[in-house]
């Protein structure tokens, strides 16, 4: 890689932590006010632990001294930031009931083993990357900015944790109807959408240069595709919720925006702008519908919408790249399907198994008293908004 490309990659790595900040703010805003401080501290701890765990295990996947070898440092940096981001994603599904200690253990496994392993398969010349060379399937499995290794892996872990923890107390009535527990701060959630855009620009551009061989001077179309995908997704969700509920839903539009960004992570380097917008629009509709489907029909309580935005958006983006991407070699769709099958058939059972096992030895869910009181007071001893007591009877320490 040339010096210019290295320098530009380093510049594009800088905004990636904003993606993590955005996901953390969304998770906090879509949860209850009595757990807001806990949500953000959990995100910080998960990010930190995943980064440390990644640094410890990186030599297994990148070869010796990945942080000393100048040729390996950019990949190690994006890997470390990606591991941190992946570890934050499941917190949205476990909001209001996931213990801080358990989130840290889960983040260590996700950031130290699962994320780097999948990233190695795709970005590090692993077997998914070699599907093209070995078996003639297009250019092998493609994933520009981590739609699979970061977002789908994080979203699948979110589904596992939602299953293991079960729904929040009082979420579903006896006949399976969900009770509305609205997010406590829509302003945070919508502000996070704009922060996320900056983060995704960095993820997609640096991923394209490092792992897809896109020349550093040709990243502008990637920015355009990322922006168009997110915009189309949010507009599709606004239109869909307007038609279905009579008015646009801010939290669903925000989740769709993230879903559109996640979908763009798969193929922003290989799509025409119109196709990227189309793929983003479909991602927005899928995210909106899947939030409702998971909540109403499958009784999966995911307050942050992490499963829909990251797993559904990511899997759709990977499929859309195979269907509509500008990859001349035949068999690209099959390569993408093989990757999706790996995420569903290997990562999901493994993720469920480690969360289930962890729960056997170290209970992941907070006690009923803690859930009633709120995680802020119960685990941290202080609330995020001490001057605004919203649920007086539940909020005070007993």
């Amino acid at each position: 890689m040339s010096e210019t490309a290295m320098a530009l990659t380093a510049v594009f790595l800088l905004p990636i932590p904003l993606a993590a900040a955005a996901v953390a703010l969304m998770n906090a805003g879509l949860g209850r006010s009595r757990s807001a401080s806990h949500a953000l501290l959990s995100s910080l701890c998960a990010f930190a632990i995943a980064a440390v765990a990644y640094a410890l295990t990186a030599p297994l996947f990148l070869g010796a001294h990945p942080f000393d070898d100048p040729a390996k440092v950019p990949a190690a940096c994006i890997g470390m930031l990606g591991a941190g981001l992946a570890a934050i994603i499941p917190l949205g599904a476990g909001a209001d009931r996931w213990r801080l200690g358990a989130t840290c253990v889960s983040a260590a496994i996700l950031g130290g083993i699962v994320n780097p392993l999948v990233a190695h398969w795709i970005w590090g010349g692993g077997w998914l990357a070699q599907l093209g060379l070995r078996y003639g399937l297009g250019r092998g499995y493609l994933d520009t900015g981590g739609a699979a290794s970061i977002h789908a892996v994080g979203g699948i872990a979110a589904l596992s944790i939602a299953w293991v923890l079960g729904p929040r107390r009082g979420r579903y009535s006896g006949d399976g109807m969900p009770a509305a527990i609205p997010g406590h701060n829509t302003v945070l959630v919508l502000f996070a959408c704009l922060l996320a855009l900056m983060g995704w620009f960095g993820l997609n551009a640096s991923g394209a240069i490092l792992f897809n061989g896109i020349p550093a001077g040709r990243v502008a179309p990637i920015f355009v595709n990322t922006m168009l995908s997110a915009s189309a997704a949010a507009l599709a969700s606004a239109a869909l919720t307007r038609v279905r509920f009579g008015r646009p839903d801010p939290s669903l539009c925000a989740n769709a925006w993230i879903g559109g960004l996640v979908a763009s992570s798969a193929g922003s380097a290989f799509m025409a702008p119109a196709v990227a917008a189309l793929a983003g629009g479909v991602a927005g509709a899928l995210v909106t519908l899947s939030v409702e489907w998971l909540d109403f029909h499958l009784e999966v309580d995911d307050p942050g919408g992490s499963i829909s935005a990251h797993a559904v958006g990511g899997l759709w983006g990977l499929l859309a790249l195979g269907l509509f991407g500008r990859v001349p070699d035949s068999g690209q769709s099959v390569a993408q399907l093989v990757g999706i099958a790996t995420l569903l058939g290997l990562v999901l059972p493994a993720s469920y198994a480690w969360n289930w096992l962890l729960d056997r030895f170290y209970r992941q869910r907070i006690s009923p008293e803690g859930e009633l009181q709120g995680l802020d007071l119960f685990e941290l001893g202080a609330g995020a908004y001490p001057e605004f007591v919203i649920h007086r009877e539940d909020f005070y320490q007993r």
Binding site: L137, D175, G176, E299, S333, L337, A341, G345
Partner: protein, 59 residues
Amino acid sequence: MRLAGLLLLAAGCALVYSAVVLLHTVGERAGFVLAGLGVEIGGLVLVFRSHLRPRGEKK
């Protein structure tokens, strides 16, 4: 039902890998990969159903 679903997920994945390694044309591979994904979707349905609690049980 939960274990059966998880095993079906893994079995579908194994079917996909077998298709990639053992078959030679893109068409054949695509057919078996889709079949493997179908098996995985069946497994996913079972795992989702296993997490639905009986009606009348308050959560």
